[in-house]
């Protein structure tokens, strides 16, 4: 791998293809942040591959001046697994949506996470099926009225990050299209993590599900409803950073910082899987009263071996102990006879 002698810029990651998402789509911002971050990662363009499935988000690779594959519905995770197994030297990015990753591709997602290939998953979650024009997704809230659920959805939704944690993901983070600085930071963290980095990105579909996340993204409500977590920092939120989260046993409670000292708050620890499992369960509907705020940031990270590393280690060990394979020996086998 040669390091880029000339410093690349975001423009170097823009293709000649016209971007065809609907005007106002949250995908534009995500594309921009990814293109902005790429030059800072220090990876030569030719070493980067974007793999997607099907859906609005999955058009992404066409807009990235890297290697790319727009595969089939739900399978980007599996395609990327094979690519990474064959080519551990590449920087592999999977772009998927809530339908692609959680519904048709749910099986591959959980297996990717447990195998912990060193790849990055960017799951654009807009809680709706956009490309098929507005049916509910496995992330849509209960009661959601869509084209296919005129009386409201009766499907209990996934809590995507809880699902990923359940599949033993080694990196779990959440960000949003409307917070470019945060998103860029999370993308860099995802890239730096050795193992599968699972990044859920809340993304507004302004055509079929406009405003699904507005309480988290709009100035007026954001501070009250979101919790930006950072490692080793207390969980603080609120209009004036005046509220905190305290753990009462295993139960998180919202406290007023006027009454409780910052020192008594829950201190975020990215390495704590038990606490992460509580944190991913901060999943109340924002409209409910006395809700916990929705966390954003890196929830959990863990150092665990990657599949491709172990695969190569086995190959190397086999060669070391048995010698490099000899085709004649293989074909001949142990028992021959001559006539």
């Amino acid at each position: 791998m040669t390091t880029a002698e000339i410093k690349l810029t975001a423009k170097d990651f823009v293709t000649d293809q016209e971007v065809r998402w609907c005007p106002g789509c949250g995908d534009y911002s995500i594309l921009k942040q990814v293109q902005t971050v790429m030059p800072d990662l220090g990876i030569p363009r030719e070493q980067i591959v974007f793999i997607s499935g099907i859906g609005c988000s999955s058009r992404f690779p066409y807009y990235m001046e890297t290697y790319g594959m727009h595969s089939i519905h739900g399978r980007a995770t599996a395609v990327a697994s094979g690519l990474k197994a064959a080519r551990p030297d590449l920087s592999v990015w999977i772009v998927t949506g809530d339908g692609d990753a959680l519904s048709i591709g749910g099986n591959h997602l959980i297996h990717l996470l447990r195998r912990n290939f060193d790849v990055n998953v960017l799951m654009f979650n807009n809680e709706i099926y956009g490309l098929t024009k507005g049916q509910y997704s496995p992330a849509s809230p209960l009661g959601k009225v869509t084209k296919s659920t005129p009386m409201g959805s009766i499907d209990h939704p996934f809590n995507p990050l809880a699902l990923c944690l359940g599949a033993d993901s080694t990196f779990i983070a959440r960000s949003m299209d409307r917070d470019p600085i945060h998103l860029r930071e999370i993308l860099k963290r995802a890239n730096a993590h050795k193992g599968t980095s699972m990044v859920e990105i809340y993304q507004n579909c302004n055509v079929f599900n406009d405003g699904a996340f507005e309480v988290f993204t709009e100035k007026a409500t954001k501070k009250l409803n979101t919790l930006m977590v950072e490692h080793a920092k207390p969980l603080i939120f609120g209009a004036n950073a005046d509220k905190g989260i305290k753990l009462d046993g295993f139960k998180p409670v919202v406290v007023d910082l006027a009454d409780v000292s910052v020192n008594d708050l829950w201190i975020h620890d990215e390495k704590d899987q038990v606490k992460a499992s509580i944190l991913v369960r901060f999943f109340d509907a924002p409209s409910d009263e006395n809700t916990l705020p929705r966390p954003f940031g890196v929830f959990y990270t863990e150092d665990r071996f990657c599949y491709e590393t172990e695969m190569n280690a086995q190959l190397a060990y086999a060669i070391e102990t048995k010698g490099a394979g000899d085709l004649d020996d293989l074909i001949r086998g142990k028992n021959t006879w001559t006539i």
Binding site: Y62, M64, W337
Partner: protein, 613 residues
């Protein structure tokens, strides 16, 4: 006691699926092969790992046909039927030749076993005279085995597990074979249990010695070595040969073999074999499902590996969409289908040739995929190798078809030296662009193959996908004329493969005549035997066996037109025949058997006679 000379013998070992029948059969096979006999085998076992003991459903069989003459099939009917219990006898007696030998473990004919085999109360076939036309040798294998091992210190259960060695030893005696190979095998097999080596060898020898000492008048037989072509041979099973073919192709192409698969009968043995050879750089990936199996292989091919996926019919059905993707991406991919009885779960452990149309047409859209089918166990080596060659040369997914019969069957193989195999020259695209020139990922060469530009190649960054793409640039295009052009180009690419495969040869018979038997796949041995015999009987019949099923060899149409009649025997309800009739407008006739079993050569010979009347 006298020794009778035989040219060929068919033995069926049959018993409970836990009786070690497959092991007994494969041991005799190796010993016969090492002796120089030609041989063909066919294991036939139930789908359940341990089907209900003593029942017909639980009967496992290992059929082997060996001789001092050339052998092409596992045989139509048995000369010797070795049965460990009543159910094994009941299930197989119909196929024993008149005058044939039955070696029966009498302990397996106690009232309990007779009942499980559903013989009427009080009826024991060993004593009721119903086996009069056969020679029956009753041996209480269980009792003798236990006696032989009385002071071995083993428990009854462990002692009983050696019963199959007694039978093997006895059959070795019957055919005057050395025990050496099996003793070596036992030593290797039970390396960690010296007590079991001793026990099994003791029982094996007891079986052999029983033949010598028993007072019953029993003939021994001699089957001399076969006059096969000079050379060095080994015994090979189809799945093993396919695995070797894939490794050889990857090695000859200088690529990493990536094998993404999901376990399924009868294809799993290819995975088992490949996973043993990591020192060849083989990467086997047991995926979470059939779809991940193929899509991971597509990912690996995109990265510059030789991607291969394998399954049987049900799994291939699940892979359909991804095969279409590989075809649109125009990257090399080999899809192995070890066919079994269908549809749906069908007959998992039985053979069938009913996935040909699935391979040819089983995808959405206009999706041509080349198809190569092997016809004997050893040919699976060459078939798999050839499928890889076409995939790499033409940047296309390629089907390699095998089936349960040849996958699990074995035969002697005069194996090639690695140096005799063709080199597969693969060159990844290099950046030779001039200033301002853009890379065209879908610009084609004379074979209409596009460049294989793999990630890591600076300056050739590009995007591919399943959406229709513009000619040459590969950009998304919904242009009507472009779509038609691309569909035609993808078809033309596959059609042109006909210029790069061997012409169709006749296997036997005259180039012009009254009747051509056109076969494909595992029917080879039965057809070959039948046609040989029919020609010897003076019939005007020829045999051709098609290995390239898409595209067909260029001369196939002309060959067919040289015959008054064409017969196409298939282990399905008529699939190749549809394609042949469609393509060549000839009135071919079908001979179809859909019983999960191969044709007997007799069945084909009967049809030949009927058609030549």
């Amino acid at each position: 006691m006298k020794t009778e000379i035989k040219t060929d013998v068919v033995i069926l070992f049959a018993g409970d699926s836990g009786d070690g029948i497959q092991l007994t059969g494969s041991q005799f096979t190796t010993t016969a092969a090492l002796f120089g006999n030609d041989i063909s085998t066919f294991p036939n076992f139930p789908a359940e790992i341990r089907a209900p003991q003593g029942t017909i459903a639980g009967v496992s069989g290992f059929q082997l046909h060996f001789g001092s003459v050339e052998i092409f099939t596992a045989g139509d009917a048995y000369d010797v039927l070795v049965v460990m219990n009543a159910a094994a006898l009941k299930a197989n007696i119909k196929q024993l030749k008149p005058g044939g030998i039955i070696v029966a473990n009498s302990d397996g004919f106690d009232p309990k076993n007779l009942k499980l085999a559903k013989y009427p109360d009080g009826v024991n076939p060993l004593t009721d005279g119903s086996l009069e036309k056969f020679k029956v040798y009753e041996i209480d294998v269980t009792k003798i085995t236990r006696t032989a091992l009385a002071d071995s210190g083993l428990g009854t259960k462990e002692m009983d597990r050696s019963k199959n060695m007694f039978v093997l030893g006895y059959i070795y005696w019957m055919y005057n074979r050395s025990l050496d190979n099996s003793i070596e095998f036992l030593k290797e097999q039970f390396k960690k249990r010296p007590d079991l080596i001793d026990a099994n060898v003791k029982v094996l020898k007891a079986g052999f010695n029983y033949g010598d000492t028993v007072e019953a008048p029993m003939n021994r037989f001699e089957v001399k070595p076969a006059p096969v072509a000079k050379g060095t041979y080994r015994s090979i099973m189809g799945n093993q040969a396919a695995a070797f073919g894939l490794i050889a192709a990857a090695k000859k192409a200088g690529l990493t073999l990536f094998y993404g698969t999901y376990p399924i009968t009868p294809a799993s043995d290819i995975l088992h074999e490949l996973s043993k050879h990591k020192n060849f750089g083989v990467k086997t990936f047991q995926a979470e499902d059939e779809i991940a199996a193929i899509t991971s292989s597509i990912g690996a091919s995109f990265g510059g590996a030789l991607g291969v996926t394998a399954s049987s019919g049900p799994g291939i059905a699940l892979k359909g969409e991804a095969i279409g993707l590989a075809l649109m991406l125009e990257i090399p991919l080999v899809i192995v289908n070890v066919q079994r009885g269908g549809p749906s779960t069908g007959l998992p452990t039985k053979t069938e040739q009913a996935d040909l149309l699935q391979a040819l047409y089983g995808r959405n859209g206009e999706a041509p995929v080349p198809v190569v089918a092997s016809y004997t166990p050893s040919d699976c080596f060459h078939g798999a190798f050839e499928a890889c060659r076409l995939a790499l040369e033409f940047m296309t997914p390629v089907f390699f078809l095998s089936d349960g019969y040849i996958a699990n069957g074995s035969e002697p193989w005069k194996f090639p030296a690695a140096a005799e195999l063709p080199e597969l020259n693969v060159s990844f695209a290099k950046n030779e662009l001039k200033d301002g020139e853009v890379f065209l990922p879908y610009k084609r060469n004379e074979k209409l193959a596009r460049p294989w530009a793999i990630p890591g190649t600076k300056g050739l960054e590009h995007r591919v996908g399943g959406i229709e793409k513009e000619n040459e640039t590969g950009n998304i295009s919904y242009d009507p004329d472009n779509h038609e052009l691309m569909v035609k180009l993808r078809q033309e690419k596959v059609d042109r493969i006909a210029d790069f495969i061997p012409l169709q040869m006749l296997d036997n018979g005259n180039e012009k005549g009254k009747l051509l038997i056109l076969g494909w796949g595992s029917t080879y041995g039965s057809i070959k035997t039948a046609v040989r015999e029919a020609i010897a009987d003076g019939h005007d019949v020829s045999h051709a066996h098609v290995k390239y099923l898409n595209p067909f060899p260029k001369n196939l149409g002309d060959m067919l037109k040289n015959f008054d009649k064409v017969l196409i025997p298939e282990i399905n309800n008529g699939q190749l025949i549809k394609v042949i009739r469609d393509k060549y407008f000839i009135d071919a006739k079908g001979l179809n058997k859909i019983k999960g079993m191969p044709f007997t050569s007799e069945e084909i010979k009967e049809k030949i006679k009927e058609m030549l009347k």
